[in-house]
Amino acid sequence: MVTLVYATAFYAATALLVLGLARKIWLYARTPAPLKIPTTPAPLTRSGAGFRVAREVVFFESLFRSNKWIWLFGWIFHVSLAVVVLRHLRYFLQPAPAVIALIQPLAVIGGLGMVAGLGALWARRVFVARIRYISGPSDHLMLALLIAIGASGLAMKFFAHTDIVAVKAFFLGLMRFDVQTLPDDPALLVHLTLVLALMVIFPFSKLLHAPGVFFSPTRNQADDSRERRHVSSRLDAAPRRA
């Protein structure tokens, strides 16, 4: 019964996540950028602009210039999350690639870093007056959700071990549409339920910053408006003579 509920939920959540994100990405891509608006000084070439976006994604360059504390906590959280997510690939790949095996020892640090980073960001949200002012219920809940995911995962690592071989069999089975039994340990079910919630919320929340950063015209446009005529909307079609 538990197995069936979670199998169905994972199919549904995956569909929502993929379709929801695809719809948003399609909307972003389809909407014209009528004018050239890179925040200058900006790279003069398109490849330079691509590199700028890459620096934003990997190093959070602008955030670093803005606020060292937010940068530090945010970057620790995201890098830790990346490590943790990569580590979880072993539940979906058989055999797991050597790289994934190699980073397994980092994962505990990743898990702790994730929770610590989130905790520090939450502390700022609570204790820094101007950040408290701009925080709504969903901002706090998002942090709570992510921390709970990290904490329940760490709990399984340290206290309430689950049968990870069976967990892997369950997910590999899902990918082949061949449902295998999921262990019904409470810590695992809590962890998976929270992850399901995150998957569903993703395309409808501020987590859209993930695809959004790639579509931000102030970052991904090259500063070349004099050299290359920017044409993207009906402004181009307007008659040049009154």
């Binding site: 004018l35 200058t40 950040i131 005529r229």
Partner: protein, 511 residues
């Protein structure tokens, strides 16, 4: 304004320019520009006044803008409320009103977007900060979207590059669309359409002014430097803000351009059809009006048969010219492809300096201990030269070439980090003086630091709005009203014109 009671700028001129204020919710709630009269709205194609079905129209317009502007769509979705921008707006630093934190300003529009255009906002409005569009929200929009000078300082620091200027332009566009226009901007755009420039200076008055300037220059230097207008077949069309024809220190800058152009030997002309570089269509976020205004420049260039377009000292005008003109009014296949279209007058002067074609007597500026105010639209929304950051290097190189005493302000408040003068983005109007004075505080503090540290006496700028704003706020902060100068005013002071009177003659002719 009722709010303009207790703020004494002189009490605030000392201190860290980026000092964090205490939060004062509602401090600037009452700050509002005068609404446009019905005829001013209608002249731009907007309804005269708020219609009964304004709410539906506003939501529909937001929907249209979401479909037509990727930046708006992405930026309304992407904010994670990290707080990086919260201490970056000069109006927040000057007022402490939390709604002047960029993210809070964006949220005024974002909460409406969420309510009507997102699933989460339709289902759980309270949870995600979505709100119904009400008259109270609309009044907040009118107040706080007219407390954004579209300077883009926040966009520099945002991890996603979210640009509050794009948000406030969209909000102003929506307000115009429902008949809630702002008097200052809309009245001025009307004047551009009916007369040709922001100041409403008719062609005949313009010609008289220019002739008067020619006489002044001749008296000063002994050289007949021309300021031609509507001259067919000239090589260069110069388009400059109309303040250059009218007020100080703008006019001294215009004299500087004329002297440089004279020395270059290239023929040039102004145009009565495009006697204005400013384009307030950008401030109100109306692409249609912005394009209509921009097309005057193309038309003037074609009608006069020029080969090049050069733009005078004006911040947002340079943004529109540099970043948008090619899109709005191009392609410019009829101009000389050997020169960028358009060129900034600073680029023109800088090139001549590099080629050694201009002679300067720097000692003429020895009374000035100068610093340079990077204007936001030049700094963060355009470029000069062919390298990233040329917009910072070129004006400074010009100033160093023409004066002996140049000092930068602190590194965290110049170049791309520059602070707005406090009057940009369509806010340069008297009824917003309280806001303008407070918004200038960070820059005034930075100037005070430079004065204390280096004995700086004057600040040069290349923006008509900056110059006008500083002329007003400098005295409030205890500086000389004339401490603000044009970059080309400094050029004008130092340039040695070919065939000019020898120094002795000049001195006797001075008085």
């Amino acid at each position: 304004m009722a709010e303009a009671t207790k703020f004494d700028p002189r009490q605030h001129v000392h201190g860290d320019p980026l000092d964090m204020p205490a939060l004062c919710p509602g401090a600037m709630q009452a700050s509002k520009p005068y609404p446009a009269a019905p005829n001013h709205n209608q002249a731009l194609g907007f309804p005269g006044e708020l219609a009964p079905d304004w709410k539906e129209k506003a939501i529909a317009r937001l929907g249209e803008l979401l479909e037509s502007n990727r930046a708006l769509r992405v930026y309304l979705d992407s904010c994670v409320k990290c707080g990086a921008c919260t201490d970056k707006c000069h109006y927040f630093l000057g007022t402490g009103d939390p709604k002047n934190m960029p993210v809070a300003r964006q949220d005024l529009l974002r909460k409406i977007y969420r309510r009507y255009f997102t699933l989460s906002g339709k289902l759980f409005p309270k949870l995600v900060g979505a709100e119904d569009l009400t008259k109270e929200v609309l009044d907040d929009w009118y107040s706080y979207f007219h407390q954004c000078s579209q300077c883009r300082r926040c966009s520099l620091y945002c991890p996603y590059g979210i640009d509050t200027a794009e948000i406030s332009m969209a909000a102003r566009d929506i307000m115009d669309t429902i008949g809630m226009g702002q008097k200052y901007s809309n009245e001025i755009i009307g004047k551009v359409f009916s007369i040709g420039n922001n100041l409403g200076l008719p062609p005949k008055a313009l010609r008289n002014t220019l002739e008067g300037l020619e006489d002044d220059i001749e008296e000063e230097t002994g050289v007949r430097v021309r300021l031609p207008v509507d001259e067919q077949g000239a090589d260069i069309l110069l388009v400059t803000p109309s303040a250059d024809f009218f007020a100080s220190p703008h006019m001294e800058g215009l004299i500087g351009y004329a002297k440089v152009l004279h020395e270059s030997g290239v023929s040039w002309t102004l145009s009565t059809h495009a006697s204005e570089a400013a384009n307030f269509g950008m401030f109100i976020g109306s692409h249609e009006n912005m394009q209509k205004i921009a097309l005057r420049i193309r038309q003037a260039a074609q009608d006069l048969g020029v080969k090049r377009i050069v733009i005078g000292e004006c911040g947002h005008a340079w943004r529109v010219a540099y970043s948008f003109l090619n899109t709005l009014a191009g392609p410019f296949e009829f101009l000389d492809p050997n020169y960028p279209v358009p060129q900034h007058i600073c680029e023109f002067t800088y090139d001549l300096i590099q080629q050694g074609q201009l002679k300067f007597d720097k000692s003429k500026n020895d009374a000035f201990r100068l610093t340079f105010h990077d204007s936001c639209n030049v700094a963060r929304a355009s470029r000069m030269g062919d390298w990233a950051g040329g917009q910072f290097d070129i004006p400074r190189a010009i100033l160093r070439a023409v004066c002996n005493h140049y000092f930068d302000m602190a590194p965290e408040v110049i170049r791309e980090h520059t602070l707005c003068c406090g009057g940009g983005g369509g806010l340069l109007t008297d009824e917003l003086m309280d806001l303008r004075a407070k918004g200038a505080m960070p820059r005034m503090r930075a100037l005070q630091e430079a004065a204390d540290e280096h004995g700086v006496t004057h600040m040069a700028a290349i923006c008509a709005i900056c110059k006008a704003q500083f002329s007003k706020v400098l005295p409030m902060y205890g500086f000389d009203r004339e401490a603000i100068v044009s970059v080309h005013q400094m050029v004008s002071n130092a340039i040695v014109l070919t065939g000019s009177k020898p120094p002795e003659d000049q001195e006797s002719g001075d008085e």
